[in-house]
Symmetry: C2
């Protein structure tokens, strides 16, 4: 009898069953994970590097020793083609080992803003020192600032000063200083040759994804954007899992901080290489994230976010030197973090509200920022209400039998026609799994054609593609061999339940906020749908399964990564930072965990609506 | 024929000749270096650990492998008893391997000061959070500061905030915050349990010695003092040698910074252990040093200090986070550096002027801060003039045949009587060499009894203890075997020349300043003699050899380590920091290297005065 083990490929989110003794490369192929393997698995090219995080595998062999040094082997790095599984295994696949990258999902609707960043450039031409002019370099530059720009009261970041004497002398006593208006205590935070534009970095740190933008602080132009997984995924899929890990041992909080900072460093390096710029030219960063991500990147403890009453260590906006969190941009650069609202409504939500204009609209507007945590807000009659719901990672493909993230080969769109299934995969690659938007479509369509009942159970014999899966029926979306699929791709009862839980939480949050504000659903004039997943989902499907309320389609507005756009606004405009403060101060936070209305609404919202009631 | 090699023991400054194949332990014994060797050299106790910095020695053996791990062996660590020399060798002796420590020379005349430090303590008792009070910890504390102490406008150092949530919860919502008045922008830089006094660290970073003081910032009490060698000595004996090293290669400046910061860290650890306090309770440090030491500890480049016109990168006073230089005290602590005056008149001189009251005296006062660099200043008619002379390390025993630092066994006092030599060694240990004060005495006495001529040459047959040494006569102070001496201890012509060069430079500086101010020598009412060496020298001898001007003895005032005392004043009093600024702004710096008067005065000042002219 052969034993089967599960191999879980992260951060792609693909799980696969393989027989005892299979190699990780075989498992990756079976799972549709596009692992590099230039030599075809002979162990002679070294391109299929992966990291074994957990589980029983064969020991490293000589082929691997040719490509990996001892410290890498100690860290779990292996060549996938040489590793045989002997138990359930968790594998981390580094981006460089994957043939096709996953979809970035970093676009968002831009807003015009008057460019007025915290960092400004000043060109100086001081007279060189001589036997009768022994002023220090610092004094010489401060006096030149006064003479050439009428600027006084400036101080040097002492760490930045270390680079300036050589720069002055190499550039013949011409220099551009970058001065940051630190709440009226201006400070020299960088220097470069005359003409160099300062750069800024805006980052939306999601629980699952990190979206980063490199911006020219003088023109406001976005020079590049980069989206990748949050490397903290290795420590837990959602916020509560990360908090549990942080609380679980000495040094774990630091480990989580290092993971995300390394992730940010990688983004900066990638963006700077693409744009042919130097990371020392990045003079300001704005980070937004939920309160947990905010705390972890700053190195703040999250223990108190894990127990009632879920109080943040810090809610005010904050400036911290990039070097104090280990972020390798300009040595004098600051990182600005927008304010948090509560333990589970963070700076990313403030940023999304600002970018989508919820704080200044006269229309009754619902805002949904859909992610592993979904924040819901309601602007109505001058009030701004917000809450947070734990929608979980199902929309990222996690906990779904054939779920996967939005990478090539993921089924992203589904329609049931004439007794069959039409679908589309990302990049038209052979189908390997289903991503979030595909799962939503599948549930909506299966309900429409009567395969799913109101409570989410699947009717036997309701469709030729329903088959018995274990003790319950399941629906085969794509059969093995069809369009090059290596396996059956299936939706089962448990998958539907996961979606019901996730969508029910979001809808219940909407209902509580409407009740709290005393607003009728019909009075909602606009629904802003933000977040990476929110960009790609089909609003029709989301409405059909009851995740979105039954409002006319033209009231929905998919704005993309609004949190990331808000971070860019705060990077370019000091006024926007004040606006963010105002928003954080104005928002009325509604705590759902202790709200009786929420549990009732949740129970109701889990049902799949009657298709007849959906069309508006 | 046996070959002899030189073994140079640092930081003690003892050199010794030994035969090829001798062990380092044998060399240490011959040199009078009190190396631990509990097992007597059998290689079984591991107490004679030293570090071979340079030179040919036998490879590590099995006995050593029992006590040293591979990384230590890679760093040059060895057991002295097992290492045979095969060439000239430079050995670093760690403090823990020495039986008797060297004399600290850290005392100084204290001045009373009103205690008003930059860091103050505030005890808080905030109400704990609850379901209806979800304020963040930071906001809760800021509001408690306002309610309990009427203090507003305070910000948290974000790095410090990381430790606070746990402290608050462990101490039942009682906490003491340490708040620093950052030029009117108060910042929380630390926290502790209620009642904990904040500590401060004052350090005088000399080219050769580091003197550190641990101070209670509430009572002003000095809790402990520690003096040790500046670990940068391994990279060069004087300022110019360090600058040359820094300029000589990529990363050298950083290497010098790391060396001194590690030295400071060692001092802090030692002081905190002695006083049973935690280094996290050290919330402010004041460092003073010459401009080169100042730049190196801050990580500023010193290249421009090595070439005319010798311009500092920074002369203004400066606050830098301890963590930005890698100093391991409280995570939020600042390091304050007093202002520099010029490339070779640094913050230590400002500190010495302040501590000895030169800036506020009505008397015509000369100030001498004697070290490897000697700063000279003159207060006269409301003016304050300063210059710097390169007196070199001869007073520390360097470049003197049998010179050594002020450690046990060093001859520190000498008198010629009845055709013989009376002397005294430190700790009355058997004589092993001569330290600075002994060398001064020797030259003065040899001149007095007619052994030395005006130009410093030694008269043959002038004394029974004069013998032929190479091609020139030399004077045997102590013969081998006398009082347990392991070797002859000798003064030769070259030693006398070294002292002539050093003392001539100091005296010439005095003459130029008097000329610049238009003051007659006889009008000088007081001569302040500061510095470690200045504490121990015999003013009579210094005057006899012409290093000090021929003024009545009662006008001389040996004040000890005034620079260190000044650093303590600046630690305890914000007003003193302002005074230091005023001093730095007022001092008229006289550059000697381009001053014709100096070279003339130098030539004259090198002569040894006629003993008949000396008594005043």
């Amino acid at each position: 009898m052969t034993v089967d083990y599960t191999v879980d490929f992260q951060p792609l989110g693909r799980r696969v069953q393989v027989a005892d003794g299979s190699t990780l490369l075989e498992a990756a192929r079976k799972a549709g994970v596009g692992l590099n393997a230039v030599c075809g698995g002979a162990g002679v090219c070294g391109t299929c590097r992966v990291r074994v995080m957990e589980g029983m595998v064969s020991p490293p062999n000589k082929s691997e020793a040719n490509f990996l040094d001892q410290s890498e082997i100690d860290d779990g790095y292996r060549l996938a083609c040489q590793v045989e599984v002997g138990g359930d295994v968790l594998v981390d696949v580094p981006p460089e080992s994957i043939t096709a990258p996953q979809r970035a999902q970093i676009e968002g609707r831009e807003r015009a803003v008057e460019i007025d960043p915290t960092v400004r450039s000043f060109d100086l031409h001081p007279t060189p020192p001589g036997l009768h002019d022994l002023r220090s370099d610092e004094k010489r530059l401060l006096e030149a600032l006064r003479e050439e720009h009428n600027l006084t009261g400036v101080r040097f970041d002492p760490v930045v000063l270390a680079h300036i004497p050589a720069q002055l002398r190499e550039n013949d006593w011409e220099i551009r200083l970058f001065i940051r208006d630190n709440n009226g205590c201006p400070s020299v935070i960088g220097a470069a040759s005359v003409g160099t534009h300062p750069l800024g970095l805006a980052v939306d740190i999601g629980t699952t994804k990190v979206a980063a933008y490199l911006v020219d602080l003088e023109t406001g132009q976005t020079l590049g954007a980069s989206g990748e997984m949050n490397p903290q995924i290795a420590f837990g899929e959602d916020v509560m899992a990360r908090i549990a890990y942080a609380m679980d041992g000495e040094g774990h909080t630091e480990e989580l901080q290092e993971a995300i900072v390394k992730g940010l460093d990688d983004r900066v390096r990638e963006l700077c290489e693409t744009c042919d710029r130097d990371r020392d030219e990045v003079l300001e960063a704005v980070l937004v994230g939920n309160t947990c991500m905010h705390h972890l990147v700053m190195g703040l403890p999250v223990d108190q976010l894990g127990v009632a009453p879920y109080v943040p260590a810090l809610s005010a906006s904050c400036d911290i030197k990039a070097r104090d969190i280990g972020l390798e941009i300009a040595p004098g650069a600051y990182v600005h973090l927008l304010p948090n609202i509560a333990g589970f409504v963070g700076a990313d939500h403030v940023s999304m509200v600002m970018a989508s204009g919820l704080h200044e609209t006269d229309q009754v507007t619902l805002g949904l920022d859909i992610g592993t945590n979904t924040e819901v807000s309601l602007a109505a009659a001058g009030r701004l209400l917000s809450c947070s719901t734990a929608s979980g990672p199902a929309f990222e493909g996690a906990h779904i039998r054939d779920g996967m993230r939005a990478a090539p080969g993921a089924i992203e769109w589904i329609k049931m026609v004439d007794g069959g299934v039409e679908y589309q995969t990302i990049d038209d690659a052979p189908p390997v799994g289903i991503c979030g938007s595909g799962i939503l479509d599948a549930v909506a369509e299966l309900r429409r054609i009567g395969v799913l009942q109101e409570n989410g159970s699947m009717r036997r014999d309701s469709h030729p593609q329903v088959r018995q899966g274990g003790d319950r029926p399941e629906f085969v979306l794509v059969g093995r061999g069809e369009d090059g699929a290596l396996n059956d791709i299936v939706i089962n009862r448990k998958d539907v339940s996961e979606i019901q839980l996730a969508k029910g939480a979001i809808r219940a949050g909407v209902e509580v906020l409407l009740d709290e504000a005393g607003v009728d659903l019909d009075d909602v004039e606009r629904v802003v749908v933000a977040g990476a997943f929110g960009t790609y989902l089909d609003v029709r499907s989301a409405r059909a399964i009851g995740m979105f309320p039954p409002l006319p389609l033209d009231r929905f507005d998919q704005v993309g990564n609004a949190a990331g756009i808000g971070a860019k606004l705060a990077l370019l405009s000091r006024r926007c930072r004040h606006v963010a403060e105002e928003i954080a101060g104005r928002v009325e936070y509604v705590e759902l965990t202790t709200d009786g209305r929420f549990s009732n609404a949740y129970m109701e919202a889990m049902a799949l609506p009657d298709p007849a009631d959906v069309d508006v």
